[in-house]
């Protein structure tokens, strides 16, 4: 079943390369996403058996990521139906790459071999690059280039880290995750440390953690909203899954402290850096991209703190994906309506497009972790974990950075929603599909904000137990 889940999107991608009408490809993507989502839904009831001699295994961690990916693709597919009613651009490469991305991201979430994991993460990088240059403007090509180069080099470092891990595992003589975990005490400590640093830098680069975040504002600012949703909600969290796998190994080898300290440092850096840079930003997409760096920092922080923080980080993975859907699909729909996502061009959304305006407000509140939304709980858990671990300064820094982030985003978002438009805009009818996709994510955010469903909590607990707390 797992291999089919990888192969079907791949075959569909090949089908999307055929010369057919544009709308057919959109429906193909929708059908594939629906199929994918229903299969993943079935996995919640009945976990599939390992496949390919143990290369592919679905554990609770993978299940969380897989469900996130599935949901992201479904909402993007629905959004796209509306989007391509107004868009005349050729979508062959775009949709083929989306489908390939679905296939490879599925591979990431189920791969149980560190080498295979690397191959999968690298492939996701490659197939996401053409998505950024969908508009083929000069800026987007430059952003694509930057993304490709920075991430490729980062991932190359992760490959080096994987090889170091293989040296550390000289006595184990395999890179299968279960074998590594079982015989973790046999790993050579020095090489493991070196490998962990390289893996963190490599996958952290892909995740967009602070010192390696430079590609993010460019790429997210230039790419179309749908692509960014998959990158910010899916790709970065795929890299995070890789970091969680490393964390599993470190915990079993008794090196949690070492790994946690680096994670906490990078996490705090990724909280501080965007909070500083966001204050001068004029473009809503770039603004949200800084917010995305911040969320990645929270994830790293939660993983580093462990305990409640770990549970919070896993929960935050889900919320982060939902928030990204709201944020970037709204930004994408604004960009399509106004042909720009800069605050100078977009004003008075609440009058011209009331629903989009409300979604932007939700993106602001949920993105910065305000109360009724689920992000509030997950962020609180992570900060709470910092307090429990007696890292008071850390908790204070996180709160201050989140406050700064709120100021930075609200400065622009409120202006866009309530500002006085410079020229009267002829409001068109809002598209049902586009709004439905965003509304679903908003509803889920609210639902998880008030009540965490039983099966979800169970899976989150199982996943947290896997990392070893």
């Amino acid at each position: 079943m797992l291999s089919w889940l990888i192969f079907i999107p791949f075959l569909c991608a090949l089908a999307a390369l055929l010369p057919v009408r544009r709308i057919f490809r959109v429906w193909l993507l929708g059908a594939t996403a629906l199929l994918h989502a229903s299969v993943v839904g079935a996995f919640w009831i009945n976990r599939p058996a390992p496949e390919w001699n143990g290369y592919l295994v679905l554990d609770p961690l993978g299940l969380i990521l897989l469900s996130i990916i599935s949901f992201l693709f479904l909402s993007v597919a629905v959004f796209m139906i509306g989007y391509f009613q107004h868009e005349q651009r050729l979508n062959r490469t775009f949709i083929a790459c989306l489908l390939l991305l679905l296939s490879t991201m599925t591979l990431v979430s189920v791969s149980y071999h560190m080498g295979l994991l690397w191959v999968a993460v690298e492939t996701t990088t490659l197939f996401s690059a053409p998505l950024i240059s969908f508009h083929r403007s000069r800026g987007s090509l430059e952003a694509t280039w930057k993304y490709l180069l920075v991430c490729s080099v980062g991932i190359a470092l992760a490959l080096m880290g994987t090889f170091f891990l293989a040296i550390a595992a000289n006595d184990v003589h395999t890179l299968f995750l279960p074998a590594l975990l079982k015989q973790a005490p046999l790993l050579s400590v020095n090489w493991l440390k070196l490998s962990v640093i390289f893996l963190l830098v490599g996958y952290g680069c892909k995740m967009g953690l602070a010192p390696m975040h430079s590609w993010k504002p460019e790429a997210y600012g230039q790419a179309t909203g749908m692509a960014v949703v998959l990158m910010a909600g899916g790709l970065t969290q795929c890299a995070f899954l890789a970091l969680i796998r490393v964390s599993q190994i470190c915990f079993q080898a008794g090196m949690s402290d070492f790994y946690a300290s680096i994670l906490i440092v990078t996490g705090v850096l990724s909280l501080i850096v965007p909070a500083v840079f966001i204050l001068g930003e004029k473009n809503i997409k770039r603004c949200f991209s800084y917010s995305s760096i911040e969320h990645m920092g929270l994830l790293a922080l939660g993983l580093g703190l462990g305990g409640l923080g770990l549970f919070g980080a896993l929960f935050h993975m889900i919320n982060n994906a939902l928030v990204k859907v709201v944020m970037f699909l709204t930004a994408g729909s604004i960009a399509q309506k106004y042909g720009s996502s800069r605050v100078d061009d977009v004003r008075g959304l609440i009058r011209s497009y009331p629903l989009t305006g409300i979604f932007l407000l939700v993106a602001l509140l949920a993105g910065t972790g305000m109360f009724p939304f689920a992000t509030f709980h997950s962020e609180l858990m992570i900060i709470n974990a910092a307090v429990i671990a007696k890292h008071y300064w850390l908790a204070a820094a996180a709160v201050i950075c989140l406050a700064l982030m709120f100021i930075g985003v609200s400065r622009i978002a409120l202006e866009m929603v309530y500002g006085q438009p410079t020229e009267p805009v002829l409001a068109k009818k809002e598209n049902f599909y586009m709004n439905a996709a965003i509304a679903a994510a908003v509803a889920l955010l609210l639902w998880f904000g008030f009540w965490l469903p039983e099966p979800l909590e169970k899976v989150l607990r199982e996943a947290a137990a896997l990392v070893g707390v």
Binding site: T123, L126, S133, R138, L141, W145, S152, H173, L175
Partner: protein
């Protein structure tokens, strides 16, 4: 056989240094081909007493991807750029060579602190791989053109690959093939983006961006 392995390791580092010292893009690509050819021989040298099918496959895969397809794709991507195009380094070629020599020394110095468990066939594998990776980084950072950055990336990959083949064989062949294929796809996509960039900037009538194309792309 050890002499051959050692000579291979050293030649790979040396070619990386020469790429750093080359001032023409085409020359850089040609030397990269040489480096990849030497690299592709390494699996055969390392298991010279009993060459397995895996080694032959790895060797053939490397030579066909890195020494044939990748340069072909790169040449395709730069077909509009003049053959004599200079590299435009941020720091001069002379200074780069001296820095490169120091980087090599650094790589060896770092390797002193790292003990490989088990019995590696050659003790030069680790320092030479590290040196190649560092030189690749140096090429990426100090050469401003897009193609040269790709070459720098490829040199880094060659360094990592040298590391992989010379030290151990814990990776299943399938994964190793996957890694090779990934790198090729990476270069392929980079070349397409590069081509788009060239087209985009060529159709532009403005002079400013044209100047920029010379600088960056």
């Amino acid at each position: 056989m050890t002499t051959w392995i050692d000579a291979g390791c050293i030649l790979i580092v040396f070619f990386a240094l020469i790429i750093l010292a080359t001032s023409r893009i085409v020359g850089m690509i040609r030397i990269f081909v040489l480096q990849s050819c030497v690299l592709s021989l390494m699996p055969l040298f390392l298991h010279a007493e009993a060459v397995s099918a895996r080694d032959v496959m790895l060797s053939l895969g490397t030579v066909s991807l890195k020494a044939a397809l990748v340069p072909f794709v790169l040449f395709w991507a730069i077909r509009r750029i003049s053959m004599r195009t200079e590299v435009k380094p941020l720091i001069g070629v002379g200074a780069s060579i001296v820095c490169g020599a120091l980087l090599i020394a650094g790589a060896f110095w770092v390797s002193l602190a790292l003990r490989i468990p088990g019995r590696p066939v050659t003790d030069l594998g680790l320092p030479c791989a590290l040196a190649t990776v560092l030189l690749g980084f140096m090429i990426m950072v100090t050469r401003t053109r897009a193609v040269t950055q790709v070459i720098g990336y490829l040199v880094i990959e060659n360094g990592i690959f040298l590391f992989a083949v010379s030290l151990f064989d814990a990776m299943p062949t399938l994964i190793e093939m996957g890694i090779l294929l990934d790198i090729f796809v990476a270069v392929f996509i980079m070349a397409i983006v590069l081509n788009n960039i060239n087209e985009e900037f060529e159709h532009d009538p403005g002079g400013e961006s044209r100047a920029k194309m010379g600088e960056t792309f």
